[in-house]
């Protein structure tokens, strides 16, 4: 019966191919969205392993997280030396990575930080940073670059880096007086670290001191580079995670300066809530496309019920029962759906395979293209089930028709 269904579909392959294609596209969309969504979350979650709190000037927690970890945008304002002291000298704080940002080099963000960063920063499942080549910066004129910076710009140990103000790819002002020299290249991490250039806090400051006057041109600079507010954000590791809630509140109540302490995990959830609306919309749209494809199958098969009356009579005459005749149509619907799902899966895999390098290069986002995730199996099963359900309509019609037609039809 399955071979019969296959041959029947092949016979009408022209119109069937279109319905299969529409199913395939919708399945590819559904699977692609799911894949990007789940992996985006895994990726983002992996960027902040081990950091208990992020402290910055008072602002939106999502913005602080995006700026300090994902290197998207900047904190609203900076922190004074006193605030940094206040946070880092707390007895519950195990380590403290100050970061200052605002400048870039050929599209890659330049971050002033402390040596402790290379020791304490964790990503993915508690993995530390390691060097592919070279060593940490040992002075104000040295820089450590991420793997992608090295690969993208072809930099090696000893290469010179000129830093521009602002984050744009084409910069107007370069701190040409203060070039940095690459002292180390980090191993790839699959996080924004790969696309960053790290220099010492002192080096970062020196760069600005050695280059006066540009603050007047760029209004952004006032907040970022005012001397008394030299730190953009602090990544904080605690001795005990139990203290995190108390510390978050206590830093938030710091009198001398308005601070916001952000718990990365919670803020990620907040971020997902923001992106969730778009995700939901996309899932709905692809769901609607699936429905359209399934409706296409049903109309296609329903339209053929009449023209296939003779075929059914012949099948009945050679001994096929009503259940088998109805099963043939149901089988055709299922086969069409299955082919659509299979083709859609292939399409989504190909698309992800092509997209993965682009995402990696642009957003440092590692997308595993191969394999099928459990959620994807579930989605495909649901679509197949739906195919069977909509196939039941023409199958039932065929059943009724065949019941009244018997084996002889006069047209």
């Amino acid at each position: 019966m399955i071979s019969l269904a296959l041959k029947s579909l092949w016979f009408r392959r022209g119109s069937m191919a279109l319905t299969v294609l529409s199913i395939a596209i919708s399945v590819a969309l559904l699977l692609g969205i799911e894949r990007v969504r789940t992996q985006a979350k895994e990726n983002f979650a992996g960027m902040v392993s081990g950091t208990d709190l992020i402290v910055a000037a008072r602002g939106n927690s999502v913005q602080i997280l995006l700026a300090s970890i994902m290197h998207i945008g900047y904190p609203a304002s900076g922190l004074s030396e006193g605030a940094v002291q206040h946070v880092c000298s707390n007895r519950n704080v195990a380590w403290c990575i100050p970061m200052v940002m605002g400048d870039s080099h050929r599209g890659y963000r330049v971050i002033g930080t402390d040596l402790i960063m290379f020791d304490k920063f964790r990503y993915a499942r508690n993995r530390g940073l390691s060097f592919r080549e070279g060593v940490v910066f040992d002075g104000t004129r040295k820089a450590v670059i991420g793997a992608q910076v090295a690969d993208g710009l072809g930099y090696k140990l000893g290469s010179k880096i000129l830093v521009a103000h602002g984050a744009g790819g084409e910069s107007l002002i370069e701190h040409s007086a203060a070039p940095f020299e690459v002292s180390g290249i980090l191993a790839p991490t699959g996080t924004p670290v790969d696309r960053a250039i790290y220099v010492s806090m002192e080096g970062y400051e020196a760069m600005h001191e050695g280059f006066g006057g540009h603050e007047n041109i760029d209004p952004l600079a006032d907040a970022d580079h005012a001397e008394e507010k030299s730190v953009s954000a602090i990544l904080v590791g605690l001795k005990s995670r139990a203290a995190v809630l108390g510390l978050q509140r206590s830093f938030g109540e710091y009198r001398a300066e308005p601070l916001t302490a952000v718990m990365p995990g919670d803020t990620l959830l907040e971020l997902w809530q923001l992106t969730g609306i778009a995700e939901t919309a996309l899932v709905w749209i692809s769901g609607v496309v699936v429905v359209i494809g399934l409706v296409g199958i049903t109309t296609n098969l329903l339209a053929s019920v009449n023209e296939r009356r003779r075929e059914m009579a012949v099948l009945r005459a050679v001994g096929a029962g009503l259940p088998q005749v109805a099963g043939l149509i149901l089988g055709e619907a299922l086969l069409l759906t299955a082919m659509g799902v299979a083709l859609g899966l292939a399409l989504s895999q190909v698309a992800l395979f092509c997209l993965a390098p682009v995402l990696q290069a642009r957003y440092g986002f590692e997308l595993a293209a191969g394999g099928i995730l459990p959620g994807e199996w579930a989605r495909m099963s649901w679509i197949l089930l739906a195919g069977g359900l909509v196939g039941a309509i023409p199958a039932y019609r065929t059943y009724k028709r065949s019941l009244s037609d018997g084996i002889s039809i006069r047209v």
Partner: protein, 232 residues
């Protein structure tokens, strides 16, 4: 037929059949008796209920009253799936036209009943070879076997249908106006071949037609109008 009461190929007794909602029955037949191996010409004008009678004989329709038996087994005593199986095992059917499943090749069409009947399959030592031989005898050459059924001429289609109805030696062959779509030459040739092959296989043949000129070549002629008159 060595027994005292040989089992009839097809037997109808006191059959009444009407479509739902109709006031009087379409068919009322007191008795039809077709022996095994007998070739019967069933005559009647269109609208006389020939197709309905064939539906009853092949167990697709069930009578409201009376009994229809094939090889001694009453259709009405079987379940729907038993009827399907029984039909596949013991009946070959040839239609007026469009006998073949368009998306199957000639050979696949001919072998189709064997998918539904283990009994008929079991009678053939080498089904495909025997199908080819039978097709050959009815003038369907090896070069046509792989072609889609839709590409055949009407005459070729009818002969292919005859082969399908005969393959695996079902005891009863029912032919519903199988020659009406053929021209005179083709009609005679087809009838010749059909009668010869039915004779070879020993099947009973119920041949329905309104073309009385063919009647003389059959063992017996049954008038459908007569049957209805009998009942009144």
């Amino acid at each position: 037929m060595g027994t005292d009461a040989p089992i009839a190929a097809v037997e109808l007794s006191d059959v009444r059949f009407g479509w739902r909602g109709a006031s009087s029955p379409l068919l009322a037949i007191s008795s039809i008796h077709i022996e095994r191996g007998e070739k019967v010409f069933l005559a009647g004008p269109s609208g006389s209920g020939k197709s309905t009678l064939l539906g009853l004989m092949s167990g697709v329709l069930l009578p409201q009253a009376g009994s229809v038996r094939v090889l001694g087994h009453a259709w009405e005593s079987m379940s729907a799936s038993q009827r399907d199986r029984y039909r596949a095992d013991h009946l070959g059917v040839i239609f007026q036209m469009f006998n073949l499943v368009p998306y199957l090749s000639v050979l696949e069409n001919v072998l189709l009943p064997l998918k539904f009947s283990k009994l008929r399959l079991g009678r053939l030592a080498r089904p495909e070879r025997e199908a080819r031989e039978l097709l050959e005898r009815l003038g369907i050459g090896a070069e046509m076997l792989g072609r889609p059924a839709g590409e055949l001429s009407v005459g070729e289609q009818q002969r292919t249908a005859a082969v399908r109805a005969l393959l695996g030696q079902p005891e009863v062959v029912i032919a519903d106006e199988p020659t009406s779509a053929l021209d005179a030459d083709n009609r005679d040739a087809f009838l010749e071949l059909l009668l010869a092959e039915v004779g070879r296989s020993g099947a009973a043949l119920v041949f329905v037609s309104h073309d009385r000129s063919l009647a003389s070549r059959f063992d017996r002629v049954v008038q459908l109008a007569d049957l209805r008159a009998e009942a009144q």
